[in-house]
């Protein structure tokens, strides 16, 4: 288990604060931009950052993250380059960094080699949505020996037995998918069902339960963090940045929106 992630989350929870975890796609606007974006998110109050690993066929993602992924690939972004970026970030920040992406890029050249690189460069863990706990037993063992967290997802469709299996396999936190659908902005979130679902998962794990998918406004972030341990915010941040061609302007938008989100989550 990554001490960086554990310590940060434990500290916030001890202080009665909820967790705010933003996401950016690595390589969207180039990796130099991603580095600045991560540092911007750190300054805006993030408790951890998710780095999206671009994939050609992101089948659980809606249009916004699909486009970000496509732009990153058009720039030739690769997983080894993202590891290098994390190593650079580690010179300047101790923010917990999770890689989120689809399984296939992590299989090249092998899961073992990528886990080693992750541990070496300072990645704290992984979220791989198309890698359910049933298929990930070897991966969990590899990550455990290297001190890397493996976050698994619970969905609104998950049965109690699946919730239990996911909670058992997960380390770091449990990722609760807010809606039955792909990633992307939503005007409304099913808050009542969400609260009930989260309480069910709680029976199976002492880990923090964070909610992601669809959170698009500070108000949604505030409401969602009231019924959970925190929120993950992705598409709306990317959407805010993709509206401008100017990198400095994009960072400014990212900083502004991310600060609002962090404030809504942390100062309720």
């Amino acid at each position: 288990m990554s001490t960086r992630l554990f310590n940060r989350f434990a500290r916030e929870r001890m202080a009665g604060r909820k967790l705010y975890v933003p996401f950016v796609t690595a390589g969207d606007r180039g990796l130099a931009f991603t580095k600045k974006a991560v540092l911007t998110l750190v300054q805006s109050g993030a408790d951890a950052v998710e780095l999206g690993i671009p994939f050609s066929d992101p089948l659980a993602d809606g249009p916004v993250i699909q486009r970000a992924s496509q732009r990153a690939l058009e720039r030739g972004t690769t997983l080894p380059q993202v590891f290098k970026l994390v190593a650079e970030l580690r010179q300047v920040t101790d923010i917990p960094i999770l890689m989120m992406g689809y399984l296939n890029p992590f299989l090249q050249p092998s899961l073992e080699q990528n886990a080693s690189l992750a541990a070496k460069t300072g990645v704290d863990g992984f979220i791989i949505p198309d890698f359910p706990p049933e298929e990930a037993t070897d991966w969990n063992r590899i990550c455990a020996t290297k001190g890397l967290d493996t976050v698994f997802l619970v969905a609104p469709t998950s049965t109690p037995s699946r919730m239990q299996a996911v909670a058992k396999a997960a380390t770091g936190f449990v990722y609760y998918v807010s809606v039955t659908g792909t990633t992307g902005m939503r005007t409304q979130l099913p808050t009542t069902d969400l609260g009930a679902g989260i309480e069910k998962v709680r029976k199976y794990t002492p880990l923090p339960i964070l909610v992601g998918f669809g959170i698009s406004t500070p108000e949604q972030a505030r409401k969602t963090s009231e019924i959970s341990d925190g929120v993950i915010v992705a598409s709306v941040l990317i959407n805010a940045m993709e509206k401008t061609k100017n990198d400095a302007a994009a960072l400014k938008r990212l900083a502004g929106l991310s600060r609002q989100m962090a404030h809504a989550v942390k100062n309720r």
Partner: protein, 392 residues
């Protein structure tokens, strides 16, 4: 295949269920419904009846005299899946899956299609059973298989254009999976090939295994012997697994899968997943995948939209690794020449996909020699491929 035991959902190191959590409960529900259907004689009865009266099975095994003479080698028998209702083997799978969907109480069906043959078959069974149907199809495929787009619409299905990525089968499948993630509670995903999340590879093979069962009985009745080789084209692999499954325990029968060699051997120029890919995970199962060094799925090309796919069924990957099946590639040009040849020598216009198998049959016939016998699977008919500008 009953005698080869596998861990549930796996074929050696291939297969599995790499699905987002949102889908996992629905996949478990499908597995349970499938298991229950296997125990239920009423399901089998209904499937057999539809197979006979609606699909038109059994399809003939046809001795191709003029082709045999012209090729000057092995005797060639054609398994005539082109004679099924809707014009290809795809309907075998769709009638099985639609019966399952009905049992599961799902009223909305989604499907992906490349050449449109699976889309037409899905639209057909939905019309037959009064179900809502949406078919995802890449815009490039919609342009090159426009006749099938028209057929699907006439059958009452909605054809949903997919404009992302390479605008072909892979992208249609991505979009169908996204739809399923969003509407999983009400929707049945009718996958058209032996790929995807477990149990699809096993289920689709089983619904297609009627091809191999019939072919084996027919060849024994007509030629009083087993064939030396069975040849079928491979995109995702449903027609090949269907016919191979009938012969896989007959160790002396060579099983040969023919992939699309496209314009040549460079990555992006072909769809030869088993002959040129490496192991990865695409669309829910572990198998061979055409990809770059960093695990990004490669663009593919084939003149045959139904073969233009960077993945392949996990059981075929397994049969390749254990040496039970062989895989070769046939180029666009060779396939088109074979399409013309079969049309003019036997009066059968094969689909461009199936023409890949015909083209390799020609090469193999000589190698095997006159005493040999082979079966080539004509998985579909070629009417869909005809364009006014091609007819000279």
């Amino acid at each position: 295949m009953e005698k080869i035991k596998h861990k549930d959902g796996w074929f050696g190191e291939y297969g599995g269920c790499y699905a987002p959590e949102t889908l996992m409960p629905a996949i478990a529900e499908l597995k349970a419904a499938l298991a229950a259907s296997r125990r239920d004689p009423a399901f089998k009865r209904e499937l057999n009846e539809l197979s006979k009266n609606y699909v038109g099975r059994p399809t003939p095994l046809d001795f191709a005299q003029r082709l045999t003479t012209s090729w000057g080698g092995a005797r060639v028998f054609l398994k005539r899946e082109d004679l099924n209702h809707t014009g290809s083997h795809k309907l075998n799978n769709c009638i099985g899956q639609v019966l399952l969907a009905r049992r599961m109480g799902k009223r909305r069906i989604i499907a992906e299609t490349g050449a449109g043959q699976h889309g037409v078959a899905a639209a057909t069974v939905c019309a037959r059973f009064g179900l809502q149907c949406r078919v995802y199809m890449g815009t490039e495929d919609m342009a090159r298989q426009s006749l099938n787009v028209y057929r699907m619409r006439l059958l009452g299905a909605e054809v949903f254009p997919v404009d992302s990525g390479s605008k072909t089968l892979k992208d249609a499948m991505n979009e169908a999976v996204r739809d399923w993630i969003t509407n999983v509670r009400t929707t049945y995903y009718m996958i058209g090939t032996v790929a995807g999340f477990d149990p699809y590879p096993t289920m689709v093979r089983d619904f297609q295994s009627v091809i191999g069962k019939e072919a084996r009985q027919q060849v024994l009745a007509q030629a009083k012997r087993l064939p030396d080789a069975v040849v079928a084209c491979v995109g995702g692999g449903s027609n090949s697994m269907g016919i191979f499954s009938g012969f896989v325990l007959d160790k002396k029968v060579r099983l040969i899968g023919v992939e699309a060699g496209g314009r040549g051997p460079g990555l992006g120029e072909h769809s030869s997943t088993l002959t040129k890919g490496k192991v990865g995970v695409l669309h829910g199962s572990r198998s061979y995948v055409l990809q770059d060094a960093y695990g990004q799925i490669a663009p593919t090309h084939s003149v045959a939209a139904g073969l233009d796919y960077p993945g392949v069924g996990p059981e075929l990957a397994y049969l390749k690794d254990i040496g039970r099946a062989e895989f070769v590639a046939i180029t666009d040009k060779q396939a088109l020449a074979a399409q013309r040849e079969l049309s003019q020598l036997e009066g059968i216009i094969p689909a461009t996909e199936s023409s890949h198998a015909i083209a390799y049959g020609k090469i193999l016939a000589k190698k095997l020699g006159k005493k040999a016998l082979m079966i080539v699977n004509v998985s579909g008919r070629g009417d869909k491929d005809l364009k006014p500008e091609d007819i000279a």
